[in-house]
Symmetry: C2
Subunit: 647 residues, 2 copies
């Protein structure tokens, strides 16, 4: 015979709790000040009413707070709470039998006087149980109420008494929670706001100097006002460490370098130091600290590149040979993707028995730069390192530094990209870089903004990177660059560009089948003519200012696509409270495209019968639109898009 | 400092395992002989290839068997295994790094001879690790292979050696499973085939006697050949227990009964006994056993009604007052749904502190009838008893009697119906009873056949029950009954009817707003004229024979709806291997409806260019159809539907 359980299991059911990621295996993500809207199916057998509540607590809290859940129909319930501090929050759903509610449901439907009197006595008993659990003041209010239900025989008075909403709710709030089920706690990672809304500019400091000279942190300092004026808030620097001299790559990735070649910043480490050192040509630790402070003073911050790989002359190669794999001939295994060899790079061997000391050393790299004042890391190729390492190291860093943000530079298969986001990366690079058609953009951004994955995957969209000059930008004109800029800046709450290559429309690939830039800054200094009259910088500045001014632009979740009758016209809106933005992009860089936009007015909270103004922040013109169907015509030679604020 | 884990966590990920119910909280369901197709996302970081396998075992098995998973693309993998015995099965997914696969992936792409030689040495090491783990015979095959890779310098020979598929797979099958992740076991409840495919006939034995006389089990015996000829395989009897005399209901649910009134079989228990006793008017335990054997001899079986509630004179009321709730006046709480009172029924009090003895007594009711030879229970209103009770009692019964099937008679909210199915009920009543329009039927049966809930929710569709004469059948003609019959018999692998009321077209409600039958058999004997020439019995027999002859009719999962250009024409197909059935129903009982059916030929595995025969089993006619678009016209006065076997 099966052993019977010692107490009757609770009869209440809690199912379908949202949000949650993989049944609670991973945390959902929010930023400070956001609401967490929790829904769940809560019910019991038969006609038993249930009540339910969300309990939640913030980092360091011992006690739980509680938010009563309201019925949404079909046995679903919902409640919201606000997360006001960064760090790790928890929440759980509880559900119990609402005996008082069940009792009054029936009570109001009874007609037979004897039946009503008996039912009143039952109610008195339930109120008595609540009264026994509550404070003196509440008790003194409930007792007289229970007394009437217990003793009175007057039907009308009993009815009126039972219907006293205030006392009923007081009793219900204090009633014992019979049959309580409580879900396992679920976690929320709460970040500062920049986790959700950020505007990135990637820059090679070494190209910031005068023509022909290696740039320095001081040169970047001088650039800061200009970058701030463009409206960026994150300045992301490729690795700033000493660059390997052994097997250094030459210009355009040549396997042998010439004297004076500066090498790739991702070939990290030399006699002068490794991941915690600074390339002398850029400056000193003091210079770097100064740059950090100067950036911060302008409302921006520095994001540092973390690439866990070593040049052959990285100090770790000699100090920690146990962290590198050996080939059968005794040589150290370089990076490769056969038949390609990357002999200037030694990957770290995460399969090493010395994995503990390796993990700790890598964590200490993060902690070093955190101490130096860096609070954003763009992590290079995280998908080539084991997943458990990332879960561990991000938790390690965020435990004492919850303000630190991590951007995963993983351009790889969907499951892998999602896994990295689940493991703790704050933001993720996306496939936006290669999504160009209307159908592709609608499908992909619907996924990013509306799928369950939005609970953990925060997109950061880039039209280009130093590694990727996508095919559609190769040899393309500035009209194409404008389109990609508007899309990135208005579809995504976080986006970035690699400049000045982007705003100057650098469009030359190293070779036809490659997405590498010709004369890539990865291997040489470049001087950029930022004064060129056709620079997209003014458009960048205008878009970024618009993003700052409009809360609707600062979130991904409100994105709605609106039908157009032209496949070259992409229309979408975002909304935050009363702030409403409508964007219509001409995806064709060569031809004027015209057509009707069918504005889904109810999704924007617009009255069908009322005219509305649309202010184009790009052209500075204002139109008045009536109803949902409106004509637009866009000439790519003049403007990629209408970016409308709806007034 | 966070304590570091003792060993490096496995780098392989296993996600999205299907099938599973609520993350493994509940078992999925299959019948003997079915395949379980398991899919999962399995992957690791970077370019590491993974291998994965499903492990599974049947009831009583100590050892696991294994089925290697094949890649399906996008990091998804799949494998199938067959469940050949009833009872509880388990399965789990394992995934590990496929070092040999990763190695050969790179090996075939290498071009530099020195590089190839070094890589061959690495491969030799991997083969050596596999060889160390395998049996002598395998080892003797692998060693010479490894030797070539280890020692040979000839590039072509090394290439050819590495490409030896047979030895490569042998090595891979024996390789150590580095970085192994193993999922938590998931459960499968495997039932006998009748769990999936069953045809039910509900009958009041007391109406089976000669006119004016109380029918007996012996009368039912004499009806068995006829019922078997109609093609039913489950004969479901309302409760057969002594019926309460206290507060017995009269005809048409009158609150007072007249002498001679037989009462409701669901008012269970009297002086003569309770849930394990038999109403003397029906016969003895021996008579019942004889009925069971006679039913079985005809390839059918008896399903018994289990209604856990008591008449006021049920022996438990006196013997176990602790199992019943008391009202404040000391009286026992009768069933009620205010203002309605069901004073002839005492519900059991599942909140009693004596819940253990109550649960055990109820379990013993099931076990009593199992010993008497009953293996199917239709459970009355399971949704009014606590969920944990059902999970426990069904597991208790099935532990020693895995052949027992449970049908949940819960017509209630969706979450509650699904929960009961998850908890272990083999089959469930459905909303089919009230789904009449094309849109409703397509939506509901798409849910039943294609949603994830099909893993645990097995529908059993009824056009009527003794409790439900749905509005569309009230005062309706036989054309409507034919439509509902064809829909139930061909949409659902399991269906049932309450007869002879159904096949004789009983259409009179007790009152206009009620779904109760007038002169319901629940409260009185009825004599049915089964010889009536307009009886639907011949159609029932033809449909049920078709169901038996066509494997396609015996499963729900293959259902596909095909578009028609007439909202009164519903077209759908089912398929099992080469057996293909196409049904076109005219949902309009009053008018001839015509239109084109657009057969989704690829879903039926039909060649677009090849004509196919459609044999109508209702009319006996045969047509030849060409292509997908075909014209049909159905006159409800003559036939509700085409039921085509596709030849």
């Amino acid at each position: 015979m099966t052993k019977k359980p010692e107490t009757a299991p609770p009869p209440t059911v809690i199912e379908e709790i949202k949000p949650q990621v993989d049944g609670g295996r991973f945390a959902v993500k929010r930023v400070i000040g956001e609401d967490v809207v929790v829904t769940a199916a809560c019910y019991a057998h038969g006609h038993e009413r249930v009540a339910c509540a969300v309990r939640y607590r913030g980092p360091g809290d011992k006690d739980w707070r509680e938010s009563v859940m309201e019925p949404l129909g079909n046995d679903l319930w919902g409640a919201a709470f606000n997360v006001g501090r960064q760090g790790r929050w928890e929440y759980t759903v509880g559900s119990w039998i609402d005996h008082l509610g069940t009792w009054r449901d029936g009570f109001v439907r009874r007609v037979d006087p004897d039946d009503i009197r008996l039912a009143a006595r039952i109610g008195a008993g339930l109120v008595g149980r609540a009264s026994a659990l509550c404070g003196k003041a509440d008790c003194e209010r409930l007792e007289p109420w229970a007394k009437i239900l217990r003793e009175d025989d007057d039907i009308e008075r009993l009815r009126a008494t039972a219907m006293d909403e205030e006392l009923f709710e007081l009793a219900r709030a204090n009633a014992p929670r019979d049959g309580l089920s409580q879900s396992e706690p679920l976690a929320i990672t709460v970040d500062r706001e920049r986790a959700r809304f950020s505007t990135w500019y990637e820059l090679f400091p070494r190209s910031c100097g005068p023509v022909g000279k290696h740039g320095t942190f001081a040169d970047v300092d001088e650039r800061l006002d200009e970058i701030a004026a463009l409206g960026f808030d994150v300045l992301y620097l490729p690795p700033i460490h000493p660059i390997g001299r052994e097997r250094r790559k030459g210009k355009n990735n040549a396997t042998t370098s010439q004297p004076g070649d500066v090498g790739s910043p991702w070939a990290i480490g030399s006699r002068e130091g490794g991941h915690t050192a600074i390339l002398q040509d850029l400056g000193t630790a003091t210079d770097f600290k100064h740059l950090i402070m100067a950036t911060r003073a302008r409302g921006m911050e520095i994001a540092l590149d973390i690439a866990f790989q070593c040049a052959p002359d990285h100090p770790w190669v000699a100090q920690h040979p146990e962290w590198f794999a050996k080939r059968p001939d005794g040589s150290i295994q370089y990076a490769e993707n056969p038949p390609k060899k990357y002999q200037d790079i030694y990957p770290l061997d995460f399969d090493t028995p010395a994995w503990r000391s390796l993990w700790q050393a890598l964590r200490d790299v993060f902690l070093h730069w955190v101490r130096e004042g860096v609070a954003i890391f763009r992590v290079d190729n995280p998908h080539t390192k084991p997943f458990p390492f990332w879960e561990w190291v991000i938790a390690e860093v965020k435990r004492d530094h919850p303000d630190v943000l991590f951007l995963a530079e993983a351009f790889t298969r969907p499951h892998v990209m999602h896994r990295l986001a689940k493991l703790g990366f704050t933001q993720s690079y996306t496939y936006f870089t290669w999504r160009t058609t209307k159908a592709e953009l609608v499908e992909y951004f619907t996924e990013l903004s509306a799928d369950d994955s939005r609970e953990y995957f925060r997109p950061n969209c880039w039209p280009n990177t130093p590694d990727i000059l996508p095919y559609h930008l190769q040899n393309a004109g500035l009209a194409t660059f404008r389109i990609r800029l508007v899309l990135a800046a208005t579809l995504a709450a976080s986006y970035g560009m690699y400049g000045p290559a982007f705003e100057l429309g650098d469009n030359r690939p190293r070779e036809p089948q490659s997405e590498e830039y010709l004369d890539s800054e990865k291997y040489q200094l470049r001087h950029w003519d930022r004064e060129r009259p056709d620079s997209l910088a003014p458009l960048v500045a205008r878009l970024n200012a618009f993003r700052r001014d409009h809360p609707a632009m600062q979130t991904d979740w409100s994105l709605v696509f609106h039908p157009t009758d032209n496949d070259s016209l992409l229309a979408y809106s975002k909304r935050q409270g009363d702030d409403r933005v409508l964007v219509v992009v001409n995806l064709d860089p060569h031809n004027v495209q015209s057509g009707f936009v069918n504005v889904a007015m109810e999704k924007l909270g617009l009255d069908v019968g009322v005219a509305y103004g649309v202010d184009d922040m790009l052209s500075g013109t204002r139109h008045t639109w009536y109803g949902s169907r409106n004509f637009v015509s866009l000439d790519p030679a003049r403007a990629a898009a209408h970016v409308f604020a709806i007034a």
